[in-house]
Symmetry: C2
Subunit: 624 residues, 2 copies
């Protein structure tokens, strides 16, 4: 499949956009006219740069309000068209996007419009230019792809074809049924955009909230499958107007975009094959990837710290034991408790962050396949020093900087790498109150949130649950749970308020956290307290409100308060949990789920946020 991206998706100068698209691996680009107009490179220089970068200039766009105009205005349209065609000849691009008219008072007679398209086609032919006619969703008269295509058929000119744009189709609730019956020679261009389903006016939805395929709610697999079936031969191009992309680093946006096309291609190849077709058939040739390796279990979590004593004290308070130090890396320790393995690596440099969640390890059926798929999906490799006789862990870097490792499943869930810490597999594991990793919350910068969701979906086969907002003293925190099909792995992504003046003074990033599951939270809490752990304080008002909300027994609430536990309930079960104070940028939660409780204690999140806010303010006061 030939991949392309419109320069409007990317930030920076036109030259920066071209270099980023080429570096990510796109075959071509669409040149967005305003990017060229503000560029200080001439069309010829841009043509040379494209040749040097081996990037094809697939389209020049947009040509607005050129057809469907009053007869007396049409000569000026043709004049404008000639100027564009001359420019396109200098630039070396041969397809021009012609948008349906959005102005008022336009031609409404289809035969007359087709006549204008044909006349425009004659002019374009003089310059060897093809016109790709696109129905804008808010076009005054032409606003469906079927109408645009009918006009193209009516015009019946070899230089006039249709441009399909998934946003303009799906945003109107339209379908692509019947696309497979079109004449493929009349389909000149395809632009893909995804979008979340929003209830707002379609113009600002289109201008601000488009996202890359797989990051929204449109059925683009169906569209691409039909394009394959009909024999579409042109580029598949991304055209995304998105406020975040415009501000983000151009290189990572380009990589995110190409990943979305590779993922979509893979999904579509699966669907085509499932329907008895051949995805590899020309001209579209949908390349597919090996199936994703969904995590079968949490392998380990890694904390990196320059305050080693703080971390190991807390782990001990929570019941962890030191399994040993890594035999070739002095600064790395493994702490375990039952099925939970936490790797602690010390980074004593004064400039290092105090404590942060550095990596997540997953056990998968075939780590090599997982790594190969990740590479094809353009994931950046996480490099770790490994000696030849040590277990190979393939690692990639997630959009938020967290490293993600794929390891083998190991015998009875015990990973082979643990032996490198001197742990003897014959040792009887001590009885453990912890039953596993319940979930891990990762903080996301807002401008990379959609990228993170697609990354976790495409590499780890995690899928988003409905998102929700949680109120804290410094603003709303968006929370989006990503979960594996069986629920083995649950990763809530948190997007913190972006420019919180209230917390700016603390200089602290929004903390991440590890939630550990246990079978007896009172025992875990009491052991931790005995070993000196001071929990994150929970206000008395909270317990009084619990009584009002749930009509709970006073003794039970007294037990919760004396053990510092929080409580929630859903239709099926109950949830008990507590939080540790924050070390650097990480804290730990211990949870106990009863009778199939499915949530994450979201009603208690504001209590935690307020308490952490006071904790930070106190710390700040002590510092000053």
């Amino acid at each position: 499949m030939r991949t392309s991206i419109a320069t409007v998706c990317l930030s920076g100068t036109l030259e920066e956009k071209m270099r980023a698209a080429a570096a990510a691996g796109f075959d071509g680009i669409e040149v967005f006219e305003p990017d060229l107009v503000v560029s200080d490179s001439s069309p010829e220089q841009l043509r040379d740069l494209a040749a040097e970068l081996d990037l094809s200039l697939d389209m020049y766009q947009p040509f607005r309000d050129g057809v469907e105009v009053a007869p007396e205005a049409f000569p000026d349209s043709l004049r404008r068209l000639r100027v564009k065609c001359e420019l396109m000849n200098r630039l070396g691009t041969s397809v021009l996007l012609v948008c349906s008219n959005v102005a008022t008072g336009v031609l409404k007679d289809d035969a007359a419009i087709a006549e204008q398209l044909r006349a425009a086609g004659d002019v374009a032919a003089e310059y060897g230019v093809d016109l790709a006619y696109e129905a804008l969703a808010w076009g005054a008269h032409v606003n469906t792809w079927r109408h645009a295509h009918r006009l193209v058929e009516l015009a019946d000119h070899p230089r006039v074809g249709t441009c399909l744009d998934s946003f303009h189709i799906f945003s109107r609730g339209d379908t692509v049924e019947g696309l497979e019956d079109c004449d493929p020679r009349k389909l000149f261009f395809v632009q893909l955009a995804d979008a979340p389903l929003l209830k707002q006016d379609v113009l600002s939805w289109s201008r601000h909230h488009r996202v890359f395929p797989g990051e929204g709610d449109f059925d683009l697999v169906d569209l691409l499958g039909r394009l394959h079936e009909v024999g579409y031969a042109g580029p598949v191009s991304l055209e995304i107007f998105n406020d975040s992309f415009r501000q983000a680093d151009v290189h990572r946006t380009a990589v995110d975009g190409l990943r979305s096309l590779r993922w979509l291609e893979d999904q579509t190849a699966d669907a085509v094959r499932g329907a008895g077709g051949d995805p590899d058939r020309a001209p579209l040739m949908l390349t597919d990837l090996p199936a994703p390796q969904a995590p079968r279990a949490w392998d380990f979590l890694e904390l990196r710290t320059r305050e080693l004593g703080h971390v190991t004290r807390m782990l001990h308070q929570l019941g962890f034991s030191l399994s040993g130090h890594h035999r070739s890396k002095d600064s790395v320790q493994a702490w375990t408790q039952g099925p939970v393995r936490i790797v602690v690596s010390e980074d004593p440099r004064a400039t290092a962050q105090p404590t942060r969640l550095a990596a997540l390890g997953f056990q998968v059926t075939d780590p090599d396949v997982a790594a190969y798929r990740a590479e094809r999906l353009l994931a950046q490799t996480a490099d770790r020093a490994q000696l030849p006789d040590e277990t190979v862990l393939h690692g990639v870097v997630a959009p938020d900087g967290t490293e993600i490792f794929f390891g083998p499943c190991g015998e009875q869930g015990v990973p082979p790498w643990l032996a490198e810490f001197g742990a003897d597999p014959q040792d009887e594991a001590p009885a453990s109150l912890l039953t596993g990793v319940d979930h891990v919350n990762l903080a996301q910068p807002w401008q990379h949130y959609d990228e993170a969701v697609l990354f976790l979906t495409s590499l780890l086969d995690l899928h988003p649950a409905p998102s929700q907002d949680v109120a804290g003293p410094s603003g709303l925190v968006r929370s989006q749970v990503m979960r594996s099909a069986g629920g083995v792995v649950r990763i809530p992504l948190n997007v913190a308020p972006m420019a919180a003046e209230q917390v700016a003074f603390t200089g602290a990033a929004y903390p991440e956290h590890i939630a550990l599951a246990c079978s007896d939270i009172v025992a875990v809490a009491q052991r931790a307290r005995r070993r000196g752990l001071a929990f994150l304080p929970v206000p008395t008002n909270y317990y009084e409100d619990l009584v009002a909300r749930f009509d709970l027994d006073a003794d039970f609430v007294g037990m919760l308060e004396s053990n510092g536990l929080l409580y929630d309930r859903d239709e099926t079960g109950e949830f008990l949990h507590f939080y540790t104070p924050t070390l650097g940028e990480v804290f730990v939660e211990v949870v106990q789920r009863l009778d199939g409780y499915e949530g994450f204690g979201a009603p208690n999140a504001p209590v935690r946020l307020a308490s952490q806010y006071r904790e930070l303010a106190r710390r700040d006061m002590m510092r000053s």
Copy 2:
């Protein structure tokens, strides 16, 4: 008028919110239950704090899904109500907000609902609590204020009344007609929120986009006028759910909120008086302010710089002459050209910003009245050292930190303070190509944008024109023109992209600029170039595109290009302009309007932004 604010409007802890509301000057607050639940102060401690701050606790809220429930669920509602009332007794607040039910499967029979309201009233009466029943716009059965009020009348209980919320009324397109005929004793509470008219689902509109009165599109003057007419006796309270406020500094949000109420009160008093009424009549007693002093002319602009030579060189290149140095302030100079006066103050400290726009001065009919009105609208005073025999300029600080001064009109527009620079009023002013200040662009932090609009509206009587977005290489820039009724003063506010990774490396703030009007831009440009000014570069592609867009004469475009001028056209006229390079955080634009052109050259803004982006990148490269 008794003023109040719901704690949900403000950021931080409940105690911080209370202190900020009291410091701003509110009479009371509504306690938002989640703020109390997460607080580590007991209800009694909060009661004491309120007493200490002289803040009344006007309402406790919300009590959700308590009425309109199935009969078998109602006993639990009453149990919850008792717990709330006990808490309210401890807290010392006596009005509880009861929301209409949003759950499904609720009671739909009005007589039965009134019966539940009456029974709830009986319970509340035991605790001396009043129930204020509010129709939520998305209530399952009760979602209009008229319906809620009819149920209150049906319930006919002294402890049961209506709560009006302007958002829930106006967001449905409803009106408050007939409000003046209600029994005022049944109107227990009024919550005000404004909002921009958005086409999106009403729940997220309500949760994220409410703004303070005067910052949106609702007709709150009409609502407040009718409350005055009907004899409403309770507090007028702000209840604003807004993503920006949640993140903003709590003190300035509180001040912004109280300013909005003072402004609304003043507007309503005018309307009541205009209709022959007496705004001062009890119980609402609408206090009004002296009329705003709209600017009659630009008085001066002040640049503050630690690179004095750069600034004076550019002023000289643009045709300004030094009028003199201030007689008591060595570091302050006045540069003039015809009616344009630029004060340049030197701040040689290495930590000072290189060059910034520090102040705007306006000539008004009565500066003392302007200053008094500003003070009543809680504007912070800008203090400048002034000797007893010097002209008194009253100054205030705008939300973005720019100082704004009110000066007298002076003879033939020449301000008396100019004499302090040694300028002799008898001097013949040299012929000037400049005809005045055309407009001044101010950069706004996104979280204070609404505050800035209300500030300029309420203090300077400027009004917003429709806003638009302008695309730059680092994201969309929102542009909102504020203009005085006659158009003498035009201030476009720019909200730059918030976390632009692309410009983060430059470390530069989004620049502000001064646009100067002239009668012969070619002469100004040629003089400037002769004096060595290098304009901000305009790419050749731009001029080629001009030909395509406007079908301009090649000689004319050649003249534009050779003089470095940009061009725009609207229905009535034409616009010629050029930009200087940026000094620190400021640049200058020179404009010439022909035949009544009304815009600001917005189509050329992307050209400027791209060129400035390249300028910054070059500067950065030279630095590294």
